[in-house]
Symmetry: C2
Amino acid sequence: PPGRKVLIVYAHQEPKSLNGSLKRVAVEELSKQGCSVTVSDLYAMQFEPRATRNDIVGCLHNSEEFNYGVETWEAYKRGGLSSDLIEEQKKVQEADLLIFQFPLYWFSMPAIMKGWMDRVLVQGFAHEFPNCYDSGLLKNKLALFSFTTGGSREMYAKGGISGDIRYLLWPMQHGIMHFCGVRVLAPHICFAPEYVSEEKRKEMLIAWAQRLKTLWKEEPINCSPEWYFK
Amino acid sequence: PPGRKVLIVYAHQEPKSLNGSLKRVAVEELSKQGCSVTVSDLYAMQFEPRATRNDIVGCLHNSEEFNYGVETWEAYKRGGLSSDLIEEQKKVQEADLLIFQFPLYWFSMPAIMKGWMDRVLVQGFAHEFPNCYDSGLLKNKLALFSFTTGGSREMYAKGGISGDIRYLLWPMQHGIMHFCGVRVLAPHICFAPEYVSEEKRKEMLIAWAQRLKTLWKEEPINCSPEWYFK
């Protein structure tokens, strides 16, 4: 609906890829609805995935023994995080909905996107014990993981060789988003687009656009072990 | 035992950290046994986690539309991967045992280590459909995930707020290592070392050294959904 803000965190090297098209479809459809859409195109930004001392501007809290979690927490509080992190945090802060668009790499997100999670969602900003899970600091936001797979739907079925696809959603949806208080919408999965016809890939894009039309009416999933492991 | 080769893939910024000590203990104990031990110290190497066109030397197989999986597969076959990847692959090829030593970041490994998985374990080298899982190309090797957590053992208990720690091992142990044919030893987990006494942390180091003494007699876990989700 008009006024809603969406951040798409996008990790694919090739604009012509299905991931690139899925991202474009989301920008178009959500903009048409009157949403304001921002894209963090991680490869294009050459986003830094490594969590290092460079993320803290100026002196360290403890220069004797470097602790990334403590240092970024302290730096956040005094406004001393590196500018690329501050920029991403602003985008997150403003967003009502976060869409993560990526190809599944090794049952998870590509390293460049994992680095976005590791570096952007610092303590003090996204969580601050005991403010985690339902009381995480990013509550009142929604997240949606939209990804493509190499393996087929059958491989990712319960009893399939790769196990139920929901098993691998646990660390991303529960461990990251729910931990920060974000409510999670059902994932959007395009299985094995490389092994289907151009026709089928077009249907995948249409299905995504279709889903986005009624996205704001969706209820978040119940992000507890039952949803994942039954 | 003498002659066995071990590769430790290590991801911590601070040598004085518990992860740094766990790595050192492993190097010492395994060397004492007569093993030959190699360490890939990812932060010290400034290891590149991003999967990009730079990983392919020379011309692309398809320069119209970049597909990382296809391009690295083709590059592997013609010896055209970037030199940092060839070097890591040599270390993996020679190793009988891979130890991954890291602090848990967001229910998973730090991005720099995920990038090692994304970039080193390319098709043709580590797997080549249908040679995956029990017939993956790295069969006859062992892997062990050794990590520290922020959360306590209670949080990671079945029914705990963060769920059974085994839930989050699925993508790493089954999705990556088992997929490549590697048999997986039980993980080694140090819970919440930042919140215990110096005394307790020393006990953690001793326990790790102790386990390593009889490591070669251990049976791999049965890496199937039952082990993870009961």
